[in-house]
């Protein structure tokens, strides 16, 4: 589509650890369109953060290896670019916001300086101009007394305020893409809402495309246009937010939605957790990674990895239940229709 701004194809990332090779990302494909918000959902260890960092090539050199894949941005493969070019793109065209605002800022450097650094590098502003821009950014994210706040240090801010500063830093150079890795996980619920509103607000003003990574379905419902569900290093289902919430096809997605406590439901209705735990990515076998925990497993699921099938425009699932050969009675109620 012409609207595509980022395309990730067949991304594989391995980590070489003391315990062997961990396959953190095992063949991820997705696209990001201009101006949209794509949410990547999954449990801890599903590979979502690694995917995000891989796009910006921020994985630790020591033990991470991107073994295959392409990340196409503006007709260039980011994974093949020389370091200097990537450094030009980072912070100015593609920016990232990290999970923990407490540790994301340099504790011994003034806030103003941390924002201005990026401005000076990418936009060639003079000190004065950069300072003014920095103040404007701080105002934009809702920090009171912005002029004075430039000279303060991170430990003088609260968690929510710090995250705002981090967002200010990320958006200072007007990037086309913002990748937010669990931006609200470490914050209180009320602050979470504020931050999310802020991000939506800024997106409306600047037209930035956002990839938001989270394990919180509430955040997804609030922010996303499209959703990619990740499990054990793979995307198992992807579609618009409506499709995913109202027409989930993959048993894992189904499980996630069912395990969420809902305010309007009967209290006496038991929560349905997904039994078991995610597989060990150092010794993962063939077959569908979710098979050991899936209530609808078939024999084929244990041996062969499912083929990705596009069931509706923009809605794709990787699951053997979608295959024509699957007998109807094995499909859970709702698969192929609405719940």
């Amino acid at each position: 589509m012409n609207d595509e701004i980022l395309e990730v194809k067949n991304l594989h990332v391995n980590f070489h650890t003391q315990n062997g090779v961990v396959k953190a990302v095992r063949g991820v494909d997705f696209t990001l369109n201009k101006g949209e918000t794509l949410a990547i959902v999954g449990e801890s260890g599903s590979g979502k953060s690694v995917t995000a960092k891989a796009i910006m090539r921020l994985l630790p050199k020591q033990n991470a290896r991107i073994t295959s894949g392409k990340v196409n941005y503006e007709k260039n493969d980011l994974l093949e670019m020389p370091l200097k070019k990537i450094q030009q793109i980072r912070g100015s065209q593609i920016s990232m916001v990290f999970q923990d605002p407490m540790t994301a800022l340099n504790p011994t450097m003034k806030i103003g300086r941390q924002i201005i650094e990026g401005l000076k590098k990418h936009q060639n502003l003079s000190s004065k101009e950069a300072k003014i821009k920095a103040i404007n950014m701080l105002k934009l994210v809702g920090i009171p007394n912005a002029e004075d706040r430039l000279d303060s240090y991170p430990h003088q801010y609260s968690g929510g305020m710090r995250q705002r500063v981090v967002i200010a830093m990320a958006l200072a150079c007007n990037p086309k893409i913002l990748i937010a890795d669990e931006p609200t996980t470490a914050l209180d619920v009320t602050i979470q809402a504020q931050i999310l509103e802020l991000m939506k607000d800024l997106q409306a003003k600047t037209g930035t495309s956002i990839i938001i990574i989270t394990h919180d379905l509430g955040v997804v419902a609030n922010m996303a246009d499209r959703v990619a569900v990740m499990y054990a290093g793979e995307i198992v289902e992807m579609g618009s937010v409506d499709e995913i919430f109202y027409n989930p096809q993959h048993p894992y997605t189904l499980g996630l939605l069912q395990s969420m406590p809902k305010l309007h439901e009967n209290r006496n209705k038991p929560l349905i957790p997904i039994p078991g735990s995610p597989p060990d990515l150092a010794s993962i076998g063939t077959g569908c990674p979710f098979a050991p925990r899936c209530p609808y497993t078939m024999k084929v699921c244990h041996y062969f990895p499912p083929v990705k099938k596009e069931i509706l425009d923009g809605h794709s699932v990787s699951c053997w239940l979608q295959d024509n050969r699957t007998p109807k009675e094995l499909q859970p109620i709702g698969i192929g229709g609405t719940i």
Binding site: G276, S277, P279, I284, G285, P292, T297, H302, V307, R325
Partner: protein
């Protein structure tokens, strides 16, 4: 479709049940599309058999090359320290006027330099018609240096060990009481330490030695007085940290007594840093003893410690370099080993180590 069949992993598939090779289908047939429910109870099985903390730590330690070398070296040298003086047939103080200042000679190892030749290249053994080979040579009184070096090692190690262990005892007691009871007790005890720390160790040690005539007891006492502080601090720090952790709170809530808390919960977790600190206290003690002996405040003749031997060796350095080399190598080897071992232990016992 890509099938990644790597080694035996595919045999175990996803539900950990090993299957025969002929059971694995090679292509997708219709009959595979039948229900194959999994055993939910199997899901929560722990992946690997439980290993105790200590076993894991020892495993990590043994993987560390530096630690292995250190352990081997240390065992070797301790063995020599105990056995060395016996096998030479001389005591450390036996003098022999005819055999003075003989360079080292070991039959079979002449090509390594153990040829009995002095600075001018003259084989002293031949010249003076001496049949017996002194492996490390002799000093100016004709005392066998092999015996003296290993006896000296014995004494240096003994002093260091005793000092370190007593440091440990006092330090653990002090730090433990301070941390466990906290509050005012802790404050006062810490104040005292603050003042003590302000006094350079060296000065205290020297002054101590001055009063109590130089000798083994005075050296040990002096080192204890200055050394216990670091152990006390480590113990206190560790206990304070543990006290705040939730498992202690949980235990207390379950009604554990103080003694049980200390014995079963706190102590085992403190052991790690204690052992590591001990590993570093010993070389410090060895160093101090050698240092004192070198400046003349250590052991007196005819006693030998590594420090005394180095001092003797230093005096004759120009013409009898061997007198300096042997004790220098031994003391360096011991200190390096303890330091490496301490490092290795520290890495092995810290569960949060990430490579």
């Amino acid at each position: 479709m890509n099938l990644e069949i790597n080694n035996n992993k595919a045999l175990q598939i996803n539900n950990n049940e090993p299957l025969e090779i002929q059971d694995i289908p090679t292509e997708i047939t219709d009959d595979l599309f039948v229900a194959a429910p999994i055993d939910i109870n199997k899901q929560d099985e722990i992946a690997s058999p439980p290993v105790t903390f200590w076993r894991e730590a020892i495993g990590r330690l043994l993987k560390n090359k530096g630690s292995i070398i250190s352990i081997i070296l240390l065992v070797f040298m301790i063995f020599l320290a105990l056995v060395g003086p016996q096998i030479s047939g001389h005591t450390y103080r036996q003098q022999n006027i005819v055999h003075t200042n003989l360079p080292p000679k070991i039959s079979g190892l002449e090509w390594l330099g153990f040829d009995g030749k002095d600075v001018h290249g003259i084989d002293q053994y031949k010249k003076r018609n001496i049949k017996e080979n002194y492996w490390f040579g002799t000093d100016e009184f004709g005392r066998d240096l092999w015996t003296r070096v290993w006896k000296g090692t014995q004494i240096s190690l003994f002093i260091a060990l005793v000092a370190a262990l007593l440091d440990l005892f006092i330090g653990v007691l002090y730090g433990g009481i301070s941390a466990f009871y906290g509050g005012k007790v802790d404050n006062v005890m810490q104040r005292i330490i603050e003042i003590l720390v302000g006094i350079p160790n060296l000065i205290v040690i020297i002054l101590f030695i001055l009063i109590l005539e130089p000798g083994i007891t005075s050296i040990i006492l002096a080192m204890i007085v200055t050394g216990w502080v670091s152990m006390a601090r480590v113990v206190r720090g560790q206990i304070l940290q543990l006290k705040g952790q939730e498992f202690v709170l949980a235990s207390r809530t379950l009604g554990a007594s103080n003694r049980r808390l200390i014995g079963k919960h706190l102590l085992p977790n403190v052991m790690g840093p204690i052992i590591v600190t001990l590993m570093f206290t010993i070389p410090t003690a060895i160093f101090f003893e050698a240092f004192l002996s070198f400046i003349g405040l250590g052991l007196q003749a005819p006693l030998a410690s590594l420090g005394v031997l180095i001092e003797d060796g230093y005096k004759g350095m120009r013409f009898f370099t061997y007198k300096l080399i042997f004790p220098a190598v031994v003391i360096s080897a011991i200190m390096i080993s303890f330091n490496l071992l301490g490092d290795g232990l520290r890495d092995a016992l810290d569960p949060k180590m990430r490579k």
